[in-house]
C-alpha cells in the first residue's frame, strides 16, 4: 500500500495512505480526545472534539474525518485547538447534569475526563437545561437523555452493527434527541433487541445497565476476562466484579470473534449466577425419588457415597450398566476428566452429552 509522510506536532510520521489524521496521530503515540469516534463505526465528525490545525487548511478540521496527505503539517494541541476544545466542552456541559457525585459513569466518562483534562468547570454558560423523564421501562438499561451529548454512537451502533435502527435523532436544534420512532420507549416501539451495544459505546452516563446501578464506582471494579456462557459463538467478555459479585458485563474487543459486540443474553443475562436458587451444599435424597426431598450433606459423605455406589453397580452389573453425561456447559478440562472417569475408571464408553439436542 502506498504511504504518505506528514508532520504531527513536529514529529515526522509515515503512515499508509487513506487513513485519518486521528489514526496517524494515534500510531505516533499522540493523544487526541474524541467523543463520537469508534474504529468499529463509520466516521461521523460530529462532536468536533478531535479538531486539529492543519497548515494551509481553513478552520479547524476534525481529525477523525480528515484523510492524511503527503507533506501535511498538523498541530494537535495549538492554542487555537485547545481553545476550541474548551469551548465545545463548555457548551456540552452547559446542558449536562453535573451529578458526577452519584452518576454510575463517573470514573469511566469521557466527558468527565476531558473536562478535567482541559480544566472546564461547566459554569461558563448559564441557560436552558433539558428535563426529560428517564426511560426505565425495559429490564436491562436506563436511558437518561438529559445526559446525552448527541455523539450518535448509539445510533450508528444500532444501524451499522445490529442493523435495526431502533433509535435515531429526532427534533431540531437544542431539542434534538435520540429516540425510538414516534418518541415512545424502546420497549413500546418493539424494534430493539436489547443487545445493549448502544450502552457499551455510550461515552457518558446517558445509557446505564440497571444491574450495575449503585453497585460501586467504576474504579472499584475488578475486571476479569472470560467467555460468554450462552451459545457457541464464544464472545469474549469482561466481568466487572466487586465484593464477590459480578455486576456488569461488557464485550471484549477480540476482532477474531465478537469485536466487543454482544447480545442481550451475554450482556444482561449473567445474573443467574447469583440466583438465590443456586445449589450451595451437596444433597442426599431422603424422600421418594422425584419428591424433591433431600438432606444436606458434607462433601466427604456425598463423594464417598457416590464412589461407593458407582463401584458397587460396576461390580454387580458390569461397567455397561453405567452411563455418564458430559456437559456442553462445562469446560474442556471438566469434560476430559469426566470421560476419563467413565472410560478409565468405570470402564464404559456410555458417554454422551446434549450435542444432539
Amino acid at each position: 500500500m502506498a504511504e504518505v509522510t506528514l508532520t504531527i506536532d513536529g514529529q515526522r510520521v509515515t503512515v499508509p495512505e487513506g487513513i485519518t489524521v486521528l489514526e496517524a496521530a494515534r500510531r505516533a503515540g499522540i493523544f487526541i480526545p474524541t467523543l463520537c469516534q469508534d474504529d468499529r463505526l463509520s466516521p461521523w465528525g460530529g462532536c468536533r472534539l478531535c479538531v486539529v490545525e492543519i497548515k494551509g487548511m481553513r478552520g479547524l478540521p476534525a481529525s477523525c474525518v480528515t484523510a492524511v496527505a503527503e507533506g501535511m503539517v498538523v498541530e494537535t494541541a495549538s492554542p487555537a485547538v485547545i481553545e476550541a476544545r474548551k469551548e465545545i466542552l463548555s457548551l456540552l456541559l452547559a446542558n449536562h447534569p453535573q451529578d458526577c457525585l452519584t452518576c454510575s459513569k463517573s470514573g469511566d466518562c469521557r466527558l468527565q475526563d476531558y473536562a478535567y483534562l482541559y480544566g472546564v468547570r461547566g459554569d461558563e454558560y448559564q441557560g436552558e437545561r433539558h428535563n426529560y423523564p428517564l426511560e426505565e421501562d425495559n429490564p436491562f438499561f436506563i436511558r437518561d437523555m438529559n445526559k446525552c451529548i448527541l455523539c450518535g454512537k448509539c445510533v450508528r451502533a444500532c444501524a451499522e452493527v445490529q442493523g435495526r435502527s431502533a433509535i435515531d435523532f429526532a427534533y431540531r436544534g437544542f431539542n434534538t434527541r435520540v429516540t425510538p420512532p414516534l418518541d415512545v420507549t424502546l420497549r413500546e416501539a418493539g424494534d430493539c433487541v436489547f443487545c445493549g451495544n448502544c450502552v457499551q459505546v455510550c461515552p457518558v452516563g446517558a445509557l446505564t445497565e440497571k444491574q450495575r446501578l449503585w453497585q460501586g464506582r467504576e474504579w472499584e471494579f475488578k475486571k476479569v476476562r472470560s467467555i460468554c456462557s450462552y451459545c457457541g459463538v464464544g464472545c469474549n467478555i469482561t466481568l466487572y466484579v466487586k465484593d464477590g459479585r459480578v455486576v456488569k458485563v461488557t464485550g471484549y474487543e477480540n476482532p477474531e470473534v465478537n469485536n466487543g459486540w454482544l447480545c442481550v443474553k451475554g450482556r444482561f443475562g449473567f445474573d443467574y449466577i447469583h440466583s438465590s436458587e443456586r445449589l450451595t451444599r451437596p444433597l442426599i435424597r431422603t424422600g421418594e425419588r422425584g419428591s424433591g426431598q433431600f438432606r444436606e450433606a458434607s462433601w466427604e459423605e456425598a463423594l464417598d457415597l457416590v464412589a461407593e455406589k458407582l463401584r458397587e453397580i460396576k461390580e454387580k452389573h458390569g461397567p455397561e450398566s453405567l452411563g455418564v453425561l458430559c456437559s456442553a456447559k462445562c469446560t474442556n478440562e471438566e469434560n476430559y476428566l469426566l470421560q476419563k472417569l467413565a472410560r478409565g475408571v468405570l470402564g464404559t464408553n456410555n458417554v454422551d452429552h446434549c450435542a444432539r439436542l
Binding site: P255, V264, Y272, R278, I284, K316, G323, T331, V351, L357
Partner: protein, 527 residues
C-alpha cells in the same frame, strides 16, 4: 465450522439454512448483516419468517422436513447448468458421478412440489451459490434435528464440494453450535465412540496410548450408548447408574415422559449442577458445581477456537469447581494422578490429543487458538481442508429425500416444529436471569392467521397442543412468521414443555432426534 466467524464477512454469497441466526447466534447474525451491508447476497432457507429473511436477497420457504429435497434440487440445477467446479471435483474429491446421477430426478419442478419453494427461486439460488465467487453455508439444528439430519449435512457438503466452495476464506460448510462448549465437549471425548480429539475407541493403538497415560490395563473398545439410547436402556433396566454433569435431559430430550420413567428406574443417579433442575430432583445425590465465572478453564467455540475463562468470584456456599469435584471422585475410585489446576489438566489433554497438542494457557490468553494446533509453534487453523480433506479426497455421498417420521394427517393436521428464542437459551440459566425472564416470561405457540381464523383462535388465547405422545397448554401467538399448517414453539419452558410433544425418531447415524418436525393437533379450550 470449517471456517471462521470473521471469515463470514468476506463471503459474496451466504446460504443460511436451518439456522435462525439472529436469535440463536446473535453475534454471528451481526457478521451476516455486515456481509450483506457490504454487498454479499444472502439466501435464507427457512420455513419461518425469521429476521434474516428481511436481509435476504432470496428467501426459500421450504416446508419443515424437506431440506434434503431442496438441497438435491440445488445440486441438480448446478449440474444441469454446468455451474460446478470441474477442477476442484477432479483434484480434490471422489464420487461425483454417482451423486450427479442421483440428483437427476430432483428437477426444480419436482422439488417445488415437495418443498413448496417456487422452481424459479430454486434455480436462482443454485446460480447465486455456485457463482459466488466466495460462497459460504451456515447451518444449525434446523438441518440436523431430522431423521435425515446426517444426510442433510452430506447434501450440504456435496454442494460445497461440487462448487469448490470449501478450503478457502469466505467459504465452507459451517455448523453453528448451540452451547458455549458443545464443541469442546465433543473434542474432549464426550461422545460414546471417541476419545479426546476424535480418536476412535475402536482403535487399539489409541486405547493403548490412553490406558498407559491413565495407568490402567485397557479401555473399553466397543462404542457406548448415546443419550437417547441410554434413556431407553435405563427404562428397560439395562442401565443401572448414571452420572449427569450440567445437563437437564428431563427438559431437553425428546418425548420427555419416557425420560422421566427412565431416570426414575435407575438404581443410582448423580447429578452435578448449579441448580436443582428437573433432572436433579430425581437424583440420589446432587453435587453443587460452579458457574462459568467461578472457575478457570477453557471452552471451544463453534469455529474451533479454544479460549480461556478466568475465575472472577468464588462459588456460593460450599459449591465447588466441577473439575475439583470430578478430580476428587477420580481419586476415590483409585485413578492415578492428581490435578492442581485446570491448567494441569490441560497439560494432560495436550499430551494425548494431537489437535490440541500446541495449546498452552499462555498462548490462549489474547485471542485463543483454533484447532488443529499440532505443535507449540503452530498458529492454529482458521480454515480447514485447505489442501486436502481429513480423509484425503472429499467424498460425495448419494443422499435421498425422505419425509419426516411423522407427517400431519387428518387426526393431527399440523406440522409441529421447535426452536430457541432470542431471550432464552436452553432450559435453565436464562430463566434464572431477572431481565430475560421479565421480557420473555412465558411460552407461546406460533400459529398462522389463516389457521387461527379457521379454528376460531385469537391472539393470546390459551390453546392445547396435542401429539401422539403428550399435550401442553400454551398461549397462541397468531403470526405470519409461520406458514399455514405449521406450529412453532420454543423449548425453554417447563410450564409447557415442547418436548412432551416431540418424537424420539432418530437419525440413524447421528442419533439426533427429529425435534423439527412432528404432527400435532390444536384444541381450542372452552372459555
Amino acid at each position: 465450522m470449517t471456517n471462521s466467524i470473521a471469515d463470514i464477512a468476506q463471503a459474496d454469497c451466504i446460504f443460511v439454512i436451518g439456522s435462525n441466526t439472529t436469535e440463536n447466534h446473535p453475534v454471528i447474525g451481526l457478521k451476516v448483516k455486515e456481509a450483506v451491508r457490504r454487498g454479499a447476497k444472502l439466501i435464507v432457507a427457512d420455513p419461518r419468517h425469521i429476521e434474516l429473511v428481511d436481509w435476504a436477497y432470496l428467501w426459500l420457504r421450504q416446508r419443515p422436513g424437506t431440506d434434503l429435497a431442496l438441497l438435491n434440487g440445488l445440486l441438480h440445477v448446478i449440474v444441469k447448468e454446468g455451474l460446478y467446479d470441474q477442477k476442484f471435483i477432479e483434484e480434490r474429491t471422489e464420487g461425483f458421478e454417482e451423486v450427479r446421477e442421483a440428483v437427476e430426478e430432483y428437477t426444480p419442478e419436482k422439488v417445488a412440489e415437495l418443498t413448496g419453494v417456487p422452481a424459479r427461486d430454486i434455480v436462482e439460488a443454485a446460480r447465486l451459490y455456485a457463482r459466488g465467487p466466495r460462497s459460504t453455508i451456515l447451518y444449525a439444528m434446523g438441518i440436523t434435528q431430522h431423521i435425515t439430519g446426517t444426510a442433510n449435512v452430506m447434501a450440504l457438503a456435496n454442494l460445497a464440494m461440487a462448487c469448490g466452495h470449501i478450503g478457502k476464506e469466505g467459504s465452507g460448510v459451517n455448523p453453528l453450535r448451540g452451547q458455549n462448549n458443545v464443541q469442546g465437549a465433543c473434542d474432549m471425548g464426550g461422545l460414546p465412540n471417541v476419545l479426546p480429539g476424535y480418536q476412535p475407541v475402536t482403535d487399539p493403538e489409541v486405547r493403548r496410548k490412553f490406558a498407559l497415560a491413565w495407568g490402567v490395563e485397557d479401555l473399553p473398545g466397543e462404542p457406548g450408548l448415546t443419550v437417547v439410547e441410554m434413556m431407553r436402556a435405563a427404562e428397560e433396566g439395562r442401565l443401572k447408574g448414571m452420572y449427569i454433569l450440567g445437563e437437564n435431559p428431563l427438559l431437553t430430550d425428546p418425548d420427555v415422559s419416557h425420560v422421566e420413567k427412565a431416570l426414575k428406574n435407575l438404581e443410582f443417579l448423580v447429578v452435578q449442577d448449579i441448580f436443582l433442575t428437573e433432572t436433579a430432583r430425581l437424583a440420589d445425590v446432587v453435587l453443587p458445581g460452579a458457574a462459568f465465572a467461578e472457575k478457570e478453564g477453557t471452552v471451544t467455540n463453534t469455529e474451533r477456537r479454544v479460549q480461556l475463562m478466568h475465575k472472577a468470584i468464588d462459588p456460593p456456599g460450599e459449591a465447588r469447581a466441577d473439575w475439583e469435584i470430578i478430580g476428587e471422585l477420580l481419586k476415590r475410585l483409585g485413578s492415578q494422578g492428581e490435578y492442581s489446576s485446570p491448567e494441569d489438566v490441560m497439560r494432560e489433554i495436550t499430551r494425548l490429543t494431537p489437535s490440541y497438542a500446541g495449546i498452552t494457557y499462555s498462548r490462549l490468553e489474547e485471542k485463543g487458538l483454533q484447532w488443529p494446533v499440532p505443535s507449540l509453534d503452530h498458529p492454529g487453523t482458521p480454515v480447514l481442508h485447505r489442501e486436502k480433506f481429513t480423509r484425503g479426497k472429499g467424498r460425495f455421498h448419494v443422499v435421498h429425500f425422505r419425509p419426516p417420521a411423522e407427517e400431519p394427517d387428518e387426526e393431527y393436521p399440523f406440522l409441529f416444529t421447535t426452536g430457541r428464542l432470542l431471550y432464552h437459551y436452553h432450559a435453565v440459566i436464562s430463566r434464572k436471569s431477572r431481565g430475560l425472564e421479565e421480557i420473555c416470561p412465558e411460552p407461546e405457540a406460533e400459529i398462522n392467521p389463516a389457521d387461527a381464523l379457521s379454528l376460531g383462535i385469537e391472539d393470546g388465547e390459551t390453546v392445547e397442543l396435542i401429539s401422539r405422545r403428550g399435550r401442553v397448554k400454551v398461549k397462541a401467538r397468531v403470526t405470519e412468521r409461520v406458514s399455514k399448517g405449521t406450529i412453532f414453539m420454543s423449548f425453554h419452558f417447563w410450564e409447557a414443555a415442547a418436548n412432551l410433544l416431540t418424537i424420539a425418531a432418530l437419525d440413524p447415524v447421528s442419533k439426533i432426534p427429529e425435534y423439527k418436525a412432528c404432527a400435532v393437533k390444536v384444541k381450542k379450550l372452552l372459555a
